[in-house]
């Protein structure tokens, strides 16, 4: 995408996207450290390398739009404006966490900002976004719902059924496929016989767009288009963002005992495709902000993450009374 195309985005949105990328990156780097120290229970999947997707889409959404997230979901929550303290506390399993310690890394939700929850079931969150979109359609608002999922999830039945259902109901849904080329340790190229997940959109009669998922502003423009279609009542869009992740899950190297699974080219492409570098270069090319503005944003992000760790570590574990709470909404 040319830099000219990106000029339309405007300084405020670019700044928002930059801040978001930095917050995600710094948060995740810290989580990696904490995990290595053995401070975080369970499975942890980081969003490092994929920041462009959440940040680009997030900046195209309104506060009252909904998102549904995945096992690799920290970035989505941050992009929707989530609270780092409560997210970090949740990763520690603390009572002050988003889910009071009951959900953990794979189940962060913040209903107050439209985050309908991360999901440990691959593809499990996709149809839930249709329901959020149906709600807004029923209420007559122009809210949209975005659902994130991986290349691997695109082979689940829920993907197919959901794209078709959203299409025939013309629901305002953004299907955001984060194609990081692997589902766990299986290359996408082995798990599907087409180069682009976006090609599947044609089978549902909806637009399918491939975008560089390491380019935050490119993702943003694609998302903004799709959001506009949704708000205008023109139905869903499938956006496939080609991106790269680090490890599938923290601790995987020990766990795989040295078995390799990513090819050299992919590792090189991943290294070359840092979304923050790309965004920094774009910002320079657009002549928007000086380096010190960006540095200040980074410092803020680092500080916010430090605060989050402190908040989490100083928070209490859930008490025994918590075990049987939060079960029923009715009597």
């Amino acid at each position: 995408m040319t830099i000219a195309a990106k000029e339309a985005i405007g300084a405020a949105a670019v700044l928002r996207i930059y801040r978001c990328c930095l917050r995600i990156r710094r948060f995740e780097e810290k989580v990696a450290q904490l995990f290595k120290k053995g401070l975080l229970p369970g499975f942890v999947h980081l969003y490092i390398g994929e920041e462009a997707v959440a940040a680009g889409v997030g900046a195209a959404l309104r506060a009252d739009d909904h998102i549904v997230s995945t096992h690799r979901g920290h970035g989505h929550v941050i992009a929707k404006g989530g609270d780092l303290n409560r997210m970090m506390a949740e990763l520690f399993g603390k009572a002050t966490g988003y889910c009071k310690g009951k959900g953990g890394s794979m189940h962060i939700a913040d209903f107050s900002i439209g985050v309908l929850g991360a999901c440990g079931i691959v593809g499990g969150g996709i149809p839930i976004a249709l329901g959020a979109a149906l709600s807004s359609a029923t209420r007559g608002t122009d809210q949209v719902a975005a659902t994130f999922f991986g290349d691997g999830a695109a082979n689940e039945g829920s993907f197919h059924e959901s794209l078709n259902l959203a299409s025939v109901m013309s629901l305002p849904v953004l299907f955001v496929c984060e194609n990081n080329h692997y589902g766990e340790f299986t290359p996408a190229a082995e798990a599907m016989n087409v180069a682009d997940v976006a090609d599947r959109a044609a089978g549902y009669g909806i637009p399918g767009v491939v975008v560089d998922g390491t380019d935050p502003l490119a993702v943003h423009l694609a998302a903004a288009d799709a959001v506009q279609r949704g708000r205008r009542g023109e139905g869903p869009t499938l956006i496939e963002a080609k991106t790269h992740r680090g490890d599938h899950a923290e601790g995987e190297k020990a766990f795989l005992a040295g078995q390799p699974y990513r090819d050299e080219q992919e590792l090189e492409r991943a290294a070359a495709g840092d979304p923050i570098e790309k965004l920094t270069a774009d910002i320079a090319a657009l002549g928007l902000f000086e380096a010190d503005v960006l540095e200040e944003i980074d410092r803020e992000a680092v500080a916010a993450v430090e605060e989050a760790v402190e908040f989490a570590q100083n928070s209490p574990d859930p008490g025994p009374e918590a075990l049987m709470e939060d079960r029923w909404a009715s009597g």
């Binding site: 988003y98 889910c99 149809p127 329901g131 059924e161």
Partner: protein, 324 residues
């Protein structure tokens, strides 16, 4: 007021609740024409925005319902036959059944999953398997299974108003039932059983179709001087333990009758609970009457042998009376 059928009662419940509360939507395959689950006519009344006729996509349809529920609607998702719920199980068990708790109380999931449960149709295994024990085992799912038109209407209305996920299981084998069903507003609270017949000698506990078999059995036992108390639980989860335990305290004998597979079935739960909590009251062994452990066969001759019959209930009562 002429008696109404079970299906008409369901239709009335849906119509009334949709009329009261515009957040109530009906979603499912062929809900427009109303294949049998009592959705017929609602499309004309409420239009395609409230009665949503979907493709054949159980998983996404259920999931869309879940998403609608957590964002303020009160969907009723009609999945037609219980066995089709296997396709939607992830959304029911992992999503609807976990969201509130796993999100620390943030989510409210007021959704009803409706389906026809069990056999008696001569439709073969893929349209007949009894599903309720699976849902009973899920910790945060409620399960109701009305045995008659009056309860069907009252329980369905209560299910729609409930703020938690409810699996509403009706039975086509009861479709022909007719009973007086008031046009006036009423609901039947979830979790409260119904004492169908008072008796002194033995407590027979059941739900759905088999309540009728239990009542038949009670009549025939009465001829032999055995006075059976028959409880229709109506709600399978949470079930009315107190009513059952109180009855057993009086009768000292317990027979659980249920149209599901025997292992980990509903009758297992009832029998285990009575044996655990009312041991001191028991004067004979608890007895279970369940389906034979085979996928409900097509042949009506065989099918009728798989589902508990009144004679099976009579035998079970005699077994527990023979002892102690």
């Amino acid at each position: 007021m002429p008696p109404k059928t079970y299906i008409a009662a369901i239709r009335e419940a849906l119509g009334e609740e949709m009329g009261h509360d515009e957040r109530v939507l009906l979603i499912g395959e062929d809900v427009r024409l109303g294949v049998f689950a009592g959705t017929r006519g609602l499309h004309r009344e409420f239009g395609p925005g409230r009665v949503i006729n979907t493709p054949i996509s159980e998983l996404a349809v259920a999931g869309m319902g879940v998403g609608a529920a957590v964002t303020g609607l009160r969907p009723v998702v009609d999945l037609m036959f219980g066995t089709f719920l296997y396709l939607a199980m992830d959304q029911i068990a992992n999503q609807a059944g976990c969201m509130r708790y796993m999100f620390g109380g943030q989510a409210k999931v007021p959704i009803v999953f409706m389906a026809q449960n069990g056999g008696g149709l001569g439709a073969g295994p893929h349209h007949s398997q009894p599903m309720h024990p699976l849902f009973m085992n899920m910790p945060l799912i409620k399960v109701v299974a009305p045995s008659n038109p009056y309860d069907a209407k009252g329980l369905l209305k209560a299910a729609v108003r409930d703020d938690d996920p409810v699996v509403f299981l009706s039975q086509l084998s009861l479709g022909g039932q007719r009973a007086d069903v008031p046009d006036e507003e009423y609901t039947i609270p979830i979790g409260v059983g119904d004492l169908k017949r008072a008796g002194a000698d033995v407590t027979v506990c059941s739900a759905g179709l088999t309540v009728h078999r239990a009542l038949e059995a009670a009549s025939s036992l009465a001829e032999d001087g055995i006075d059976a108390e028959v409880i229709d639980l109506r709600t399978l989860k949470p079930w009315d333990e107190a009513m059952v335990l109180e009855s057993v305290a009086k009768t000292g004998r317990f027979v659980a009758v249920d149209e599901s597979y025997p292992t980990c079935g509903a009758a297992s739960e009832w029998a285990a609970t009575v044996a655990e909590k009312a041991f001191g009251d028991l004067r004979g062994p608890v007895q279970r009457v369940s389906n034979r452990p085979v996928p409900i066969p097509f042949s009506p001759v065989l099918e009728s042998q798989t589902i508990p019959a009144a004679a099976d209930v009579v035998d079970a009562v005699r077994r527990t009376m023979a002892r102690g």
